[in-house]
Structure formats: C-alpha cells, structure tokens
C-alpha cells in the first residue's frame, strides 16, 4: 500500500511524533511505500538540526534523517508553519535576513499543496497528533 504520513506534533512533548516514525519504519519494513511525510503545525519542530537531547534519549530528528537517507523518503516541512516557528533552510534564512539555517538533513521546505497532493496520490493518509 502507498501511505502518506502527516505529523502535527513536535518531538518529545507528544508521543505521536515517535509513533509516526515507528509506523513509517514498520510500513517500509513490511514492503509498503511511503509517498511523503508532511510535517505540519508544531510538527515542523521535528525538522530542526539544532536539537540536542540527552545521550540516553532518542533523537527524533536524527531518526527521521537516517530513515530518509536509507529509504530516500520525501520529508516535507510546511513553509508557513516553519516560518512562524523559526525552521529555515538557507534560502529562507537569507530571504528573511536570519543568520543561519537550521533545517535537518533530508528535510525540505514546501507548501500545503504537497499535503493535498499526498492525499490524492496515496492510498491512505495517516495523521499523527492533534
């Protein structure tokens, strides 16, 4: 089956960010296809590379980046939600006069149209978080 994943919560506060990751990983391991992972609302906070959780804790962002590297996942961060919360790639940072970008490896910034397209193209859109 072809899945699209929507994540509405940031890492660490809600388990749904972890559950989304575990679901995605399990789906791939069971031979399913992931059309896209869309990070929305506070979920965009999964895409900053500046998180430094304690060493004995999981690093949700790094888990996503690794999984995307391994399986060539399309990790998309909603641009409007990201701008509000200070998640930027180099182009965005330059455009808004910010000193540095912080988007994590394998994440990219794009618009809500990517979510609609995922809903159209995937067999199932799975939504994690409020």
């Amino acid at each position: 089956m072809k899945f699209a994943i929507q994540i509405n919560e940031g890492p660490f506060t809600h388990q749904s960010a972890d559950t989304a990751y575990q679901f995605t990983k399990a789906a791939i391991e069971n031979g399913h296809e992931i059309f896209r992972v869309f990070f929305y609302h506070d979920g965009v906070n999964n895409g900053t590379m500046y998180g430094v959780p304690p060493q004995d804790d999981r690093n949700v962002q790094a888990l996503w980046s690794d999984l995307a590297e391994k399986h060539d996942l399309d990790l998309v961060v909603c641009v409007a939600a990201a701008q509000r919360r200070g998640i930027m790639d180099e182009d965005e940072a330059k455009r808004h006069g910010k000193g540095a970008s912080n988007i994590a490896p394998k994440f990219r910034i794009s618009g809500l149209g990517q979510l609609i397209e995922a809903g159209i193209q995937a067999d199932r859109l799975m939504v994690f978080g409020d």
Binding site: Y40, H41, G113, E117, G119, I120, Q121, L125, D130
Partner: protein, 135 residues
C-alpha cells in the same frame, strides 16, 4: 492530475484559542486549486467558526471570519453543520453566516452552501470520505 477524491475537513474547535480553525481554512483554500471534491464539516465547538459578528481585535489576533464567505468562489459549497452541536451551545443556523455559491449549472443562480446534519448523517459523511483531515 486526473484523480478526484473526496476531501472531508472536520472542524471541531473554536475559531480562536488554537491555530486549527485558521489552518483548516488555509488548507481548504490552497487545496481548492487541486480541483478535488471538498466537504467542510463543523462539529462541537467548530460551529463557533461560522458565527456572525466576530471581532478578534481585543485578543490581538487576525480576524479571519470574513474569509469563509469566499469559499463559494473557490467551489467549496458543501458545508455541513452538526445541528446537535448548535443546539448544545444555544445556537441556531441563524446565528451563522449564510454561506452561498453561484451554481454554474443553473445560470449562476445564488444558492446556499449550508446544510444542517444530524449525528447519523455526520457519520455517513465521515464514512464516505476518501481523505479525512481533522482540525
């Protein structure tokens, strides 16, 4: 993109207090460009999103309540409001904006987009959706 799916948006929260009502409207308007079938459901505190006479200036928020009136121009004309949720809050359909659209198949006659639904009809709407987005 030739696939047409039924996108059903469930709006459950008051217009202010959380970002969800504003975001829902945003997704609906952007999604309109994809020419899918779109249904908007207002249930629980979500019915407050459509109430008349809103003014958010006092809480320092951007008022977006007037944007709903534009939905008809985006071919979003299937609006479903839970009648039980209205009744629970002492509201009637007259407290809500009368959203309309112009029917291109009927000489652009202006028609109501508003539909009152009961719990059973609501459950059918949800069952029949291809893509369900909750806000």
């Amino acid at each position: 993109m030739s696939v047409t799916k039924k996108f059903t948006y469930i709006n459950r929260k008051a217009p202010y207090g959380t970002v969800y009502a504003l975001e829902s409207l945003e997704v609906v308007l952007i999604g309109a460009a994809f020419e899918q079938e779109v249904q908007l459901v207002f249930v629980d505190d979500g019915v407050y999103q459509l109430t008349k006479g809103q003014d958010a200036a006092g809480i320092g928020m951007k008022s977006f309540s007037k944007t709903y009136a534009a939905l008809g121009d985006y071919d979003v004309n299937q609006i479903y409001v839970c009648e039980q949720s209205l009744a629970d809050r002492g509201l009637t359909i007259d407290d809500l904006q009368a959203l309309t659209y112009e029917d291109e198949d009927d000489d652009w006659a202006e028609k109501s987009s508003m539909n009152l639904v009961n719990r059973e009809q609501l459950s059918d709407l949800i069952s029949n959706a291809d893509v369900l987005l909750n806000f």
